[in-house]
Amino acid sequence: MLGYYLQMAVRSLRRNVALTALMVVAVGVGIGASMTALTALRSMSADPIPDKSGRLFTPQLDIWGPQRNQPDSGGNGDRLPTGLTYRDAVAFMNAHKAARQAVMYAVGLYVRPAAGRPLQAQGHAVSADFFSMFETPFASGGPWGQKQDDNRESVVVLGARLAARAFPGADAVGRTLNLGGRDYRVVGVLKPWAPLPRFYDLNSGAFGEGEEFLLPFATAVERQINTNGFESCNETPTGGWEAHLNSSCAWIQFWAELPTAAQVRDFRTWMLNYAAEQRRLGRFHWPPRVALHDVVDWLVYNKVVPAAVRAISLAANSFLVVCLLNAVGVMLARFASRAKEFGLRRALGASRRNVFLQCITESILIGLLGGALGLVLTAIGLSGLRQLLGMTDPASAVHRLIALDTGMVVITLAVAVGATVCAALYPMLRASRVQPAWQLKVE
């Protein structure tokens, strides 16, 4: 029976090519626009670490109090800085309130490769739990441990790209690399790894390439390596590095792995107690105020997806609705003009169900054709978007951010067919309600 319906559908679609083309183009263009926007939105707001995002938390602390005058970088009006001061970060680490916890900050250092001019590399200074907490994949070697942190050892984990550039064609593990004028022993090399958005340090660039190197936090602090990423101060500290460490500047990200709700509660309570204690000690002159965000929450709080992208997505979806309204109209006209044909079929014994099925086969066919066109248009739209955003290097990590994957192809086709069938529902109902006798009687 399905074969018969299909045959009839193809025949009827071919009978009026112009009308068919109009419908297919309407569905295709609408799907193309909305899928382009959806892909961009989905990849920008994707969960960067889906299997753990609910267990990873980052804290905020009211270190400046109500007299702070500068605009809040979190932008949510609660005026909490989006990082910790060095002294608070160290206190959080020493409290050991979480199963795993790490501090980190962005650093840029030059690298002297085997040959050629030195080059600038971008990485993070992190503590040892960073690797196990964020499940960084290693190509060879492994992370350093707590002991190396405590001893401020000169060890480094390299990103895939830097390892390939500094030690072409060889395993970097065990070799020595000169970073910022100091020698570091390579203990591990990562596989290509770039969580997008880079949730653990959003304010030092959320959408970028992966880390080129990771070195121990304590070692970096001891060597007075300043951050080249996020730093927010309510007053400019003077007096060199020590003053910087003791200042009220927020420049360190702290993450903790808290697997259970009870642990989250305990951590929050501990933070409140910590803030209260700082008040007792005379450092804070205001009531304790803290916040604790998991990964997804943190992305929303930091407005990682710009409102402009949401506006585009709203526009594209309205456009899809208009295209579908259009398709409803065309289909209405199409089925109505074939009332006689349906009447004849009904008179010859086809049930309402048969006519309905015939119509639905036709709509699905239109939906599939529209979806196929939509896919092509989505691919074109995405490449246009990449061009506009300057993401033209196909090898880069951000390139895959705005790209069509298998999941998206399936979703596109499903949306196209689903939307077309929904749009055809009312015209189909009308078509299948045709009174056989009445239709045959006229003329």
Partner: protein, 398 residues
């Protein structure tokens, strides 16, 4: 023309009319808001930086070792850049207008103010700053060489004198007497305003309350700002890296970028959004027009005999034409009315989430007129075909 019969006919076949009306409403809502976003983004993108944009380029470099004589090296680099053919002047700074990062400081009128009077973007300059940026001095003077102090990492000392933009001068001293006044960075540090320059954009977008501090940042990495004579920029940009490598080979030159490139990078998302919205709007208008053409054609086909009959009974072609145009005007009018409501509702959301100003009545009215005109245009062809139906149709069929 009597619109009652048209209304009655519309009520009888209302599905198509509702579909078209909804389409028009959505189209108008989107058109108004997109137009408002595009125009506002355009305004933001064209915001002048306040410096000689066409002739400035930036060179970002970093020394690899820890040079003890960093100031001498910086000055050697700058002297070499200034000596390049076509270069007017060069200076070093941490940030530039629209570069995307920078910092600001609060300024007070009294040493022990709880809240600062103004928060100003900070730009560092030397005595070469005025010529390098092409700033326009409105009052007072620029810095002398001996006023420029060293800026070391977290060892800030407020300079004795500063230059402010006219916006900052106005915020600090609304009476217009900023020149010569003392302002306080902190309870112990103050500076005197020795000059006022014309508007300069902030490092981040917006905010032109900025000040110039006569400080030379002594960091391993530096941003050199070079201004050339018109037409000489490309040659100077090519020559600069080699010249610097010849001075000190052991360095990184990260980027040599004309100011136009900085502007493009800063406004890339705005530009992308504007282009995408424009494309979607254009497609939307086309699709809506096609929908109107298609549905009117269908109506014409269905009423072929009826039209023939009217013609046979004495209706002129112009009457048939007027019938379809009036019908379309009714549908489009209802759609536009609904669309204005939708446009305002969507704008409320957009204004809140995108920090845009509210859509103005001019755009809404303009958009409504544009949509109405487009609908009338779309209906013209099917209506003409209807008008050309011969009266004989009435008698010929059946």
């Amino acid at each position: 023309m009597d619109i009652l019969p048209i209304l009655r006919a519309l009520v009888r076949s209302k599905t198509g009319a509702i579909l078209i009306g909804l389409q028009i409403a959505l189209t108008l809502a989107m058109l108004c808001n997109s137009l408002s976003i595009i125009l506002q983004f355009g305004e933001r993108m064209r915001q002048p930086a306040g410096i000689d944009e066409a002739n400035i380029f930036i060179l970002q470099t970093a020394y690899v070792d820890d040079p003890p004589d960093i100031k001498a090296r910086l000055q050697g680099d700058l002297a070499a850049l200034r000596a390049l053919p076509g270069v007017i002047d060069a200076d070093t700074s941490i940030t530039l207008p629209l570069l995307g990062y920078g910092y600001n400081e609060g300024l007070g009128l009294k040493p022990d103010q709880k809240f600062p009077t103004a928060t100003a973007n900070v730009y560092h300059v030397t005595d070469h700053g005025l010529a390098t940026y092409g700033l326009k001095l409105l009052a007072g003077r620029w810095f002398h060489p001996d006023e420029v102090i060293d800026l070391r990492f977290y060892a800030n000392v407020a300079p004795a004198s500063i230059v402010v933009t006219r916006e900052l001068a106005r915020t600090l001293f609304p009476a217009g007497n900023a020149l010569g006044q003392q302002v306080w960075f902190s309870p112990t540090q103050s500076s005197r305003i020795i000059g006022v320059v014309d508007s300069v954009a902030g490092p981040q977008r917006g905010g032109s309350e900025s000040m110039y501090l006569p400080e030379i940042p002594l960091n391993k990495s530096a941003n050199y700002v070079v201004r050339t004579r018109p037409g000489m920029q490309a040659a100077a940009m090519r020559a600069a890296p080699d010249r610097l490598y010849r001075l000190v080979n052991d360095r990184i030159i990260r980027q040599v970028l004309p100011f136009s490139g900085i502007r493009q990078r800063t406004f890339q998302l705005d530009r992308t959004v504007s282009i995408v919205l424009a494309v979607v709007c254009a497609l939307l208008l086309v699709v809506t027009a096609c929908g109107i053409v298609g549905l009117t054609m269908y109506w014409v086909a269905r009423r072929r005999r009826q039209i023939g009959m009217r013609r046979a009974l004495g209706a002129r072609r112009i009457d048939i034409l007027a019938y379809f145009h009036t019908e379309n005007l009714l549908i489009a009018g209802a759609g536009v009315a609904l669309g204005i409501g939708l446009a305002l509702a969507a704008n409320l959301w957009l204004a809140r989430s995108m920090e845009l100003t509210r859509v103005s009545a001019v755009y809404v009215c303009g958009g409504a007129l544009l949509v109405l005109a487009l609908c009338q245009l779309a209906v013209l062809w099917p209506a003409l075909r209807a008008a050309s139906i011969p009266p004989a149709v009435a008698t010929r069929a059946s």
